[in-house]
Symmetry: C2
Subunit: 486 residues, 2 copies
């Protein structure tokens, strides 16, 4: 049996003793000296072997027996060790790959994901001690007087009550006009026909993913990206593939490689104020992505979530490759988080699929909120709120720059969050935990990691999330002292 294996697979181990030891039936020989990084002990319990193996793998990862970054034994070695076929191992690994626990590359092996231990969802934790929130990107407390004002005006009109009927599924003409206007400020060209409204940015992402992709499809992303995309993709069985960066941007070579080898069907990007790195994508990179997308006919999901932090509109990939790009323009972050509204700009060929997905998810959106948003935009109040948001960010950033002057904190002064690079010796996750215990919530790089890219040690600071500038200052000082001490 061993001989057969060697002959058939042209194996050339030079240690025959080891080879002999691999045969399970020779149970007297101990396996202890074998160099396998993982030696699962499978008790099938009448379960199919591949399922039992997958469960054991998951357990061992969750228990910390297998740490992120661990390279698992080659499937063939495991197969031999466990006396089953390679395909059986492969099948078990595939289950865990779909769960985002591991990630395999031909030639290099299978690695335990770096985010396998972080909780995917970023639901703000309930604590029984006061917490300075710099984790979730919840905009500051605000009274939103402009919105109140607009609602008051709306109430004067006789048709007001009708806004609680079903409304037109796809928005009225004038509402779409308002959307087009809004999108112009984000640098995204659009027409009334290309716009579909969704219940917020996350809802838009889920709709695009579920409408244009199917379970098993792959989407390229930055090596660190928005966790909401990760959870949505995970929910739909869509796999994310990190595209290697050069100078903080996707490298053309890596992108093309992902198209050819991984067969990705789309990419997700946040060109302005990338989450979490705060990076602003260069003109050149936008054009490169547009070109590659056109050449390979892949779908670009361009998330303009922070685009209005730019005072004047910058270019978009949607501009350069309108037939490839689904652009998401959310109002939540910029105008008001309670508005739960986002516009999707889609090429005509994808419109039906996206509209259908939205119908499956929500049936329809609130006509009241849609009308409210449209009026906020038409009246210019939406942009005014964006302006205020920028001003607040500036103020917060002054504080950040002062307190964290000794550190490498990436991000423009107009950014509502910053990216604090830690010395390589410091484990970001450890700092997140320590900070939490000191009453400051921040999120470490692991939470944003895609696949098996080992994230640099860094922390995202949502600087406009805390309830006051005083709190921000307090939180930053706690963080600074923690870093100096550690």
């Amino acid at each position: 049996m061993i001989i057969r294996y060697i002959l058939k697979n042209n194996l050339s181990y030079n240690c025959t003793i080891t080879l002999f030891a691999r045969k399970k039936s020779m149970s007297l020989i101990s396996f202890d000296h074998l160099p396998l990084t993982w030696k699962p002990n499978i008790i099938t319990n009448h379960k199919p072997f591949y399922i039992a193996l997958a469960e054991q793998l998951e357990l061992d990862i969750k228990n910390g027996r297998l740490l992120p970054g661990t390279i698992l034994p080659p499937q063939r070695e495991l197969a031999y060790f466990l006396d089953v076929n390679v395909s059986t191992i492969s099948r078990a690994f595939k289950i865990c790959t779909k769960k985002g626990l591991i990630c395999g590359t031909i030639g290099s092996g299978t690695v335990v994901s770096y985010d396998s231990l972080t909780n995917l969802s970023l639901i703000p934790k309930q604590t029984n001690f006061p917490l300075i929130e710099m984790g979730s990107m919840i905009p500051e407390e605000n009274t939103y007087d402009e919105i109140t004002q607009v609602i008051k005006e709306m109430l004067k009109e006789t048709d007001f009550g009708k806004l609680f009927g079903y409304g037109t599924f796809m928005a009225t003409h004038w509402q779409k006009e308002a959307a087009v206007k809004f999108l112009t400020h984000m640098g995204c060209p659009s027409t009334k026909d290309s716009i579909v409204p969704a219940q917020g940015g996350q809802n838009a992402i889920v709709a695009i993913l579920s409408g244009l992709f199917k379970s098993g499809d792959k989407i390229g992303t930055d090596p660190l990206t928005y966790p909401g995309l990760k959870s949505a993709a995970h929910m739909l069985g869509i796999q994310l593939v990190p595209i290697r960066h050069i100078d903080n941007e996707m490298s053309e070579e890596a992108l093309i490689q992902a198209c050819e080898n991984e067969n990705i069907k789309g990419i997700y990007i946040i060109p302005e104020y990338q989450n979490p790195t705060t990076h602003l994508m260069s003109e050149q990179c936008k054009k490169m992505i547009a070109r590659v997308a056109k050449e390979r006919d892949i779908i670009v999901i361009e998330d303009g979530i922070h685009s209005l932090l730019n005072e004047t509109p910058r270019s978009t990939v949607a501009m350069y490759a309108p037939e490839q790009t689904c652009y998401i323009a959310s109002l939540s972050k910029i105008v008001s988080p309670g508005l739960r509204l986002a516009y999707i700009v889609t090429p005509l060929r994808y419109k039906n699929a996206i509209a259908n997905a939205l119908y499956n998810l929500n049936i329809t959106i609130s006509p009241f909120l849609l009308e409210l948003a449209s009026r906020m935009i038409a009246s210019g109040k939406a942009l005014k709120l964006a302006q205020e948001r920028r001003h607040l960010a500036m103020k917060c950033n002054e504080i950040v720059n002062t307190i964290l002057v000794d550190f490498d904190v990436r991000g423009e002064n107009s950014s509502t969050f910053r990216w604090l690079i830690l010395p390589e010796t410091l484990d970001a996750k450890y700092i997140e935990e320590k900070a939490f215990n000191l009453g400051v919530q921040v999120y470490s790089s692991e939470r944003f990691t895609v696949g098996t890219t080992k994230p640099i040690s860094a922390i995202r600071l949502a600087i406009t999330a805390s309830s006051s500038l005083e709190n921000l200052e307090k939180g930053l000082i706690i963080l600074r002292d923690l870093l100096h001490k550690t």
Copy 2:
């Protein structure tokens, strides 16, 4: 080879000639006389065979070459005909099963689904001629003065603007109290801890499905059910299994069988005013479902979408099996469709999973709409609207009963829709088409069918959807005349 096949499988065809003809290599012999119901012509085009086969099957169904109800040849016969292994056929069939195109039963064979040709989504069609809407269950045009009134009151308060901030993710205490009160009127026991708000009933369904089930899981349903469930399940790769009825209700035997053989993880039911049959579930059946659910530990998704059409609350499965049941209480149909709000009552053990799923889908819901809904409920205005809705239904039903007196039209007089049973000789889908051409939109039974249950010929009439009683009358007369004529 043939001999081997016969020996191995103990086949006992008594016509050797036929058997000989099955061998592909004997290409001179024609296959024309073979009794296969489907003879695919597979051109692989470098695609894997199983994928090519699945695509061909889908094409042939969509093209009408394979009609709903057609029994496909046994997998073994097809395998023989195409000279491949049974498993290859099986794999191809599985792809189409997941798409809802076919449905296989061990022992009985594989059948083309009856809803394989109907468009899953019920997005109201755009027409350039006036259409009397009796298809989509869109509530009538209404001015919703009560809502306007409540918003006016809300505006007077100083904190109003804060309702456009992020709000508390899971609703405030008093909002939950309002929800509990609302749920009491629906007969569903709840506590503040067991309630999670979603953006409307459909959103709630998607959240429960994606939070508690995974791709490949099976859920039992009525043989005819709400199409929104079908599309949501389809989107998530969840398979629906029809549970056979006896006297218009799920039969205990069939339910237990589905648990044991199909391994269903849950069931979806609409006990009050079942969509589309209008059936009110008996006390006995509710108790039976609760008992079986407890015994087998399956999840009951109880959709109370029409429960408030009952003047006084009836019992719920949630009452009898609170640890098994996720109850959905939507405000859209009863209070106002523009409100986009539903409450999910969940057993504690499922709460986290559902909350997480909702976070993945929407991040959060509009605090403004949540507050508005809570006040509508607390002030008793919500129930008043439900009352109005019942009254309107009564008025509409009088008209229905008068005009369609010659027909078998199921449903209480308080129902907002009715179920028109057609003579077996009439094809419901044909009537739907004809009616549409005459300017009346109705939905035929095929749209509600799950799997391969051949639906009875029937049509759902959404009687409160048309814009006026006159229109309803006009539409019904057109329909009556059409039926008399055909």
